[in-house]
Amino acid sequence: MGIRNNNIFLVGILILVALALYVVLPLPHPDWLARSETSGGANNFAGLKLGLDLQGGTQVMLEADTPAGQTLAAGAMDTAKRVVENRVNGLGVSEAVVQKQGDNRIITELPGVKNADQAIETIRSTGQLEFVDPKGAALDQGMVINTTNRPDSVQRAQAAAADGSADAVPTPFPDQIFETVMTGEVLKDAQAKTDQLNQWEIAFLLTSDGSSKFYNYTSTHVGQAMAIVLDGVVLSAPRINSAIRDQGVITGQFTQDEAESLAVQMQYGALPVPLKVVDVRTIGATLGQDSVRSSLIAGAVGLLAVFLFMLIMYRVPGLIACIALVFYIIFLLAIFKIWPVTLTLPGIAGFLLSIGMAVDANILIFERMKEELRAGRSPRLAVEAGFSRAWSAIFDGHLTTLISCLVLFWFGTTFGASVVKGYSLTLGAGVLMSLFTAVFVTRVLMRSILGNRIHSSEASHAAIGF
């Protein structure tokens, strides 16, 4: 291997380091790179996106709640995922993640949302909107009634109240089934707003088909009441004062949260299949920030200990290994930023651990070199032999760690354990990167030190240090 090749490699490595530094340091970056830096403060750290466990937030796993004996319709989950996604965005949660999981589950991450209960209920409620003819019955906000499309609402509500899983609700008309005259399909848009008296209401727009249906109904029923029902619960039962064509307003005793939640449910259509919550976790942000800081301090101390160890044990090659290790850290951080990897606390631990493991390839190589020197080889040949002979052990060892990472990745993806998934990615990336820096980079640097002049044996030994 000529020395000119080595110089080319050396220059190449230094260019890569410079590029990586540019990516990692807080310098002005082009848009595609700066996307995770834009919202500063709580949800990123050194330009890296923070996971839920570090910035606080909620993760929910929803499962299709098909009644016993019914199978899930094809495509139902895809539609459900779309509706959930729209609702999550409609709630204004930034950087939310919605993913389908297996055949019948959806996982949603809501960063920064702490009081998640309202959000979750908004997202998972069926959202079946109906305009119902009360036919003279005095319907009021909050009542549960049976409708043509939902003939068993009352029964279900009473059962839930009986077994304690829900509060009791007023059901003054338990046996009557009210006629559904229109469904939520007529709606084009729904927004929550306040009126002049600061009461919250929901303003809605109708589609062109919806407009004609609405107009036909309202023009023939002026003076009568029309009930607006969501999932079997009466939202409002206003009197029709005049025919309505394109738009209207639903008024009632709504808080801001309620109005916004209703607007979101009305706007994006009903879920084709009911969803139930099978796993919910909420993390407050306070735990996260402290942990990051202390982990990084611990990591820095650990790194210093590793540097000292390498320098004491292997002197000059040890120093080269330390330089390669610094390059390793810079490269890895750059990749985390470009990917982008979401940083979790175990992910930080995995990253720090991989730093500790990155040098083990170097230790294998250097021990091999020592042996070759003891056996009488010249320093340059000992260096080369060290690298080539140690390679098989290094490769086999790293591969087995990668096998573990793959299995962990599968496990994390299957169960929405994004923490486990993040850890497997950081550790796996670290193992691969360490193959590069510990073997290739170190070899290039070692060769550069030995240079292209024929050293005397003593000089070479001095250069290496042992």
Binding site: D117, G164, S165, A166, D167, V277, V278, D279, V280, R281, T282, I283, G284, L287, D290, S291, S294, S295, I297, A298, G299, V301, G302, L303, A305, V306, F309, M313, L345, P346, A349, L352, L353, I355, G356, M357, V359, D360, I363, E367, E371, S392, A393, D396, G397, L399, T400, T401, I403, S404, C405, V407, L408, W410, F411, F415, V419, V420, Y423, S424
Partner: protein, 316 residues
């Protein structure tokens, strides 16, 4: 020479000493409590709720709120400081949570902060358990196959793979044993992160074992004709420094995190440390002696006359 292979009886006994407390715990716990391992809600399902109050709180008072609401199987204890409690009960839905929150507010005023909340249905918990076992089994299987393939030019390559896997299972058992003991002392539990730690330990422990096996493979070629025990001993001694060295750097970082990092990662990192030390031990004192035992067809060394073990090489 250290005669490690010859003394393998001792090493196997030491391993048993490390594992037996765990087995005793599992038997005792299975009989008295109905479950063998201290599993967290990740595997059993349930609700875990960490609440920090404005002032020091009596766990019994908090528990009363839950019992009154219809959850008699609630456990509450303080963690960290005396204002923070961890409540554990069966899995609940949003309505039930709202009711409980109302109850807490009524009793303690609104002055509390929810640090974390987790509610997991039992079906998911069961799935996670099965997947965890599957993950360990699959990882072990893949590793066995890979090592058997990598060592295909050595006689009996599957032995190396199998012995590496036995050493790995040993490490897993040591880790579980450690966690069981810590459960008795400090209430530690096995959760999803534990699985992460176990799989990392597996990956890393095998790395270490492979370093030794690699040297055996090389010495086998170089010193043909010598007894396997002798070759193995020589390989162990030659690789001991680097075997320990590669673990030391990882341990330096881990110990640093354990001491200086926050409490959130403490259980995870402690598990990793115990696993790595066990991995270091098993690579040297379990994996290779097992291969030798297999050669010998006897777990303990037979009492036969052996050639001199200072091993002068037959050829360069």
């Amino acid at each position: 020479m250290f005669r490690i292979i010859e003394r393998r009886g001792w090493w196997f006994a030491l391993s048993l000493i490390a594992i037996i407390p765990g087995i005793v715990y599992m038997a005792w716990s299975g009989i008295t409590r109905g479950y063998a391992l201290p599993l967290s809600i990740d595997y059993t399902g349930g609700t875990l709720w960490e609440i920090r109050f404005a002032e020091a709180i009596e766990p019994g008072h908090v528990r009363q709120v839950f019992v009154d609401a219809g959850f008699p199987d609630t456990t509450v204890f303080t963690i960290g400081d005396d204002k923070t409690v961890q409540v554990k009960l069966k899995s609940i839905n949003a309505d039930q949570k709202a009711t409980l929150q109302t109850g807490l507010e009524a009793k303690f005023g609104g002055a509390y902060e929810e640090l974390s909340y987790r509610s997991l249905g039992p079906t998911i918990g069961g799935e996670v358990s099965r997947a965890a076992l599957l993950a360990v089994a699959v990882a072990s299987g893949l590793i066995l196959l890979y090592i058997a393939w990598a060592f295909r030019q050595v006689p009996h390559p599957f032995r190396y793979g199998t012995c590496a896997v036995i050493a790995l299972i040993h490490d897993v058992l040591v880790v579980i044993s450690f966690l069981c003991i810590m459960n008795l002392i400090a209430g530690w539990e096995i959760d999803a992160l534990t699985l992460t730690a176990v799989l990392t330990v597996i990956g890393f422990s095998v790395t270490d074992t492979v370093v030794v096996f690699d040297r055996i493979r090389e010495n086998f070629r170089r010193y043909r004709g010598q007894a396997f025990d002798v070759i193995a001993d020589r390989s162990l001694v030659e690789t001991m420094v680097r075997s320990i060295g590669t673990q030391v750097t990882a341990l330096l970082v881990l110990v640093s995190i354990l001491v200086l990092g926050g409490p959130t990662l403490a259980v995870f990192v402690a598990t990793l440390i115990v696993g790595f030390i066990s991995g270091m031990y098993s690579s040297i004192f379990n994996a290779s002696p097992l291969v030798a035992a297999w050669e010998d067809r006897s777990l303990l060394p037979r009492k036969t006359a052996r050639p001199a073990t200072d091993g002068t090489p037959a050829a360069a």
